[in-house]
């Protein structure tokens, strides 16, 4: 009787452990994707500022008649 209950508990822990591993893997994947996204977004923002700077910051030009 006690052997059966020990086995069931072991299986439950095993299943829970496996579930935790899966959840952790999914979370890790999501976090990795989010980090990647964040880096990409930051890069985009920096590139946007650079492009805007290049487009707008120019020395004054004299138009000779």
């Amino acid at each position: 009787m006690s052997d059966d209950s020990d086995n069931a508990a072991g299986e439950l822990f095993g299943a829970l452990f496996m579930l935790m591993l899966v959840v952790a893997a999914v979370m890790l994947a999501i976090m990795a994707l989010m980090s990647l996204g964040t880096l990409f977004g930051a890069g985009t923002a920096l590139r946007n500022y650079g492009l805007s700077f290049a487009n707008n910051v120019k020395p004054q030009r004299v138009v000779r008649p």
């Binding site: 977004g41 946007n48 805007s52 707008n56 004299v62 008649p65």
Partner: protein
Amino acid sequence: MTRTAEPEPAIKSYFFDKGYRDLGATIAESWKRNLASAAEHFDKVARGMPGELGDKALAILWGAAGISVVVFGTAVFLVASALHIVVLFLFFLLIYLGFSLVYLTERAYLTWKGFFPVCPDCHSKNPLAEYFCPQCGARHCRLIPSSYGILHHTCQCGEKLPATFFLKRGQLPSCCPDCKRQLETGHIESRKVFIPIFGGPSVGKSAFLFSVVSQLMEHTSRPGLDCSFLESRTEGELARARQQLSQGLAPEKTISTLPRAFNLKVQAAGRDPRVLYLYDPAGEAFNETEGLLLHQYQAYLSGLILLIDPFAIADVQTEYEERMADVREALKPSRLPVEVALSRILIGLEEHFGLGKGARIKVPVAVVINKIDAFDLEQKFGDAAGLVREQLQIWDAGVVQQLETRCARLRFFACSALGRMPDGSAQPFAARGVLEPLLWLLGEADSVFASEREKAA
């Protein structure tokens, strides 16, 4: 005089003008680009979420990227803008310090040299003339080290103009800020001596002016002293007057009560040239006290010549009454009594040109008795200044007393601006004694001419 600040026809320094417009445009454009990027990423999220697992994963990536673009975009543009502002402000400060330093150095140097623009026409004294662009003719009212440039201003036509005395700004065409008449370099960048010839109508001021200038040109034609014209106009005027004098014709009477200065450039060897401003106002200006109101040069006089017609003095008229009857037309005695002319000069100076009530005139005053060629006056005066004073004292003690009370540096002279009575003959006029008063005044007014004063004495 207050002037509305007109915008200069020049291009302002980038760090005082366009830099800030560029900063604003950069911020606005980067913010627009961030919003567009974020919207694009969020669109991808909306398209990916209902799909397969792989699409969902990508949707997460794009969602994070969209949020990040907004968050980091804001942070990036805040940090970048702050950096941009700091850089702009640093350059702004550097340029501000640069032009302030150059401007103050220039002002100090010009003050030390005694250089300031004085208009020979309207007589206004200004700290700065207005300059014209030699390329397009645009008028630059404030061609000084400023936010338009430290050493040069760039005209809107693209021409680079020197913005400081040290870079020969004075060689640009220029005009008076008040009357807009053309100025020569000498009217601006030179030490000046201002001497008006005062006296009532018909005392012989014009004849005195042309005779003294003519003699000064001859006097300075020797080594060590150089006298030249500042403008061709003046040269032409003197040439005409000389021709008239050589033909026995008296110079034409001055009509304008507000005279244009007669300029000459006088340079002693090894010294900076001085520009002489001689003024010959019409005698009618002395007919009323307010007649001298517009004669702004009285505010910055270097000396004064008071020309006296002895035949305007009552005692002289009585003494020579019989002999004058035949030559009255040629003699043209002034109808304005000397004491009246003197009082009007003094009242004018007191009311409009800062002379204290009853105070003494600090600049040297040469009192010159003209027309001594008439009758036996020359024998009465002799050569010594003391004799001139004594004779004037005999004729009009009141005038001598008033002169000595009100003038701190005074000297008496006698001259004949024409050299003889204008009797209609073509015999040339040859002035006598006209140069000494001017040389004495120059020596008193400016140490450069001290040796000339000694020679004259």
